[in-house]
Amino acid sequence: MLEAFVFATIFCGFFGIILKKNLVMKIISMDVMSTGVIAYYVLVASRDGLFTPIVSDGANATYSDPVPQAVILTGIVIGFSIQCVMLVGVMKLARDNPTLETNEIEKSNTP
């Protein structure tokens, strides 16, 4: 059930990239997609249990897998920095293309 929602998020983002005309909207759609991917990693990590994996004397509870969480932390940082870089590029482009419609930008910038 949760998995279906996660995949729905990924697909929403993907179709947003295709269907939205505005460049900023496209970038936000990409963010939605990457949120979906991050959620999927968290979901996979919690397959075996929900407890934080900390060494203790207590009973051996069902721990969640720390590896995907650690990995996706890198993914989050990379995704966020890419978005920053892209938005700076968009700011530069917006000076001459105030509407930021991709087909217009593409038309004037393809030889």
Partner: protein
Amino acid sequence: MNTLTMPSAGIAIAWIALPFFLGFTIYLLPKLDRILALCMAFVSAGYALQLFVTQSPLTLQLLDNFGVTLIVDQLSGYFILTNALVTTAVILYCWRTDKTAFFYTQVVILHGSINAAFACADFISLYVALEVSGIAAFLLIAYPRTNRSIWVALRYLFISNTAMLFYLVGAVLAYQTNHSFSFASLRGAPPEALALIFLGLLVKGGIFVSGLWLPLTHSESETPVSAMLSGVVVKAGVYPLVRCALMVDELDPLIRIFGVGTALLGVFYAVFEKDTKRMLAFHTISQLGFILAAPAVGGFYALTHGLVKSVLFLIAGALPSRNFKELQHRPINTTVWIALVIASFSISGFPLLSGFGAKVLTTKNLLPWQAIAMNVAALGTAISFAKFIFLPHKADGEEAVKPGFWPAAILLLAGLFVANVVYYEAYSLANIVKPLATIGLGWLAYLLIFKRSVLKLPRVVEQFEHLIGGMSLMLLLLFWMVLA
């Protein structure tokens, strides 16, 4: 990791970390930018040569089975050497231009991230390396700060990042089955995991239909940046595919099919292209197909292609025009023409140059069903480079040579001659006759048919939204291929 491999392990890790350290040092000491960047390229070249000398593959497993896996052997040695030589040539080319320290920082970081991609053998380190190379390439493409360069860079980053998101989903699916991110965990992974991971790598590596973002990006960048993109950056996506094909036997046929398809698609566009840089870019796609068509010997092919394609891009930047029609009426300088002809001969597989050895070696390792298609692709290569060879030239012809052009071109061309030693067994009569016949046929076809062709292929598929949409189709195709 036992104590015996400790020193070489330390060296490997230091070599991977060095470019990032140097990159930021360059920014702190802008006066030393070119020298530091050049030093880094030399260090990589030395490291690659050391890999050839010791001949013992180094496998590192940092932490546990979920940790970082590194593999460096001869195959990665070829790719690393390509990276080192192309970077050296690009730095020499830019030596006397007014490029700022920022440019060299990005070059060194790009160099380092690609080195890392050539050394790692797990999906997450590869993801990080590819994303860093994507950002560095974005900054290099956008370096002129014109609207067009920013748009081209933005388009590149957007497409590669979307592909990498698919790749991440695939990586976690593969992790779920084997609890490991290493390439070997692809064995027994569900088909959807394979399809998603491969989609990411195909887009990043510019393979088959997913590689159609490549012509615009490579042709609209500045000359040294195109040389670097075409020479090494796309290979960061191709290398993992080759590595996977070698590690997991079940994937070998799939990679070979993509190799053949890519070689034919790229050459088909290249033959009809009227613009020098776009022709070279389409031809890069086709050559990547050659690397994948015979994964076991892909390293050597990647080395020759990296050298020849970067020198061709540098030369294309020194020609007075980008349009072939216009170049027919404007004779170019003979010295530039000679360099152009050497490079074109190498890529068509003419003996004495290393392109010959690479082509023979690849042909030897093809499966029977691939042979015809790859010969057609080789013929297409000869046809497309006849466009360069038959350009008019005269001693005082036009040129637009930058001061750093000759050192860079001479380094790369010398590399083409020296690389012959890798496979000198290729020089037998039967092997020599075949490429000559291919080249002859190609020239004949060019002079009779293609010189006059006015067919212009539509560029609809290169539009941004079609490229993104193409990914979903490619995903379906991959899924069916993996299931079959």
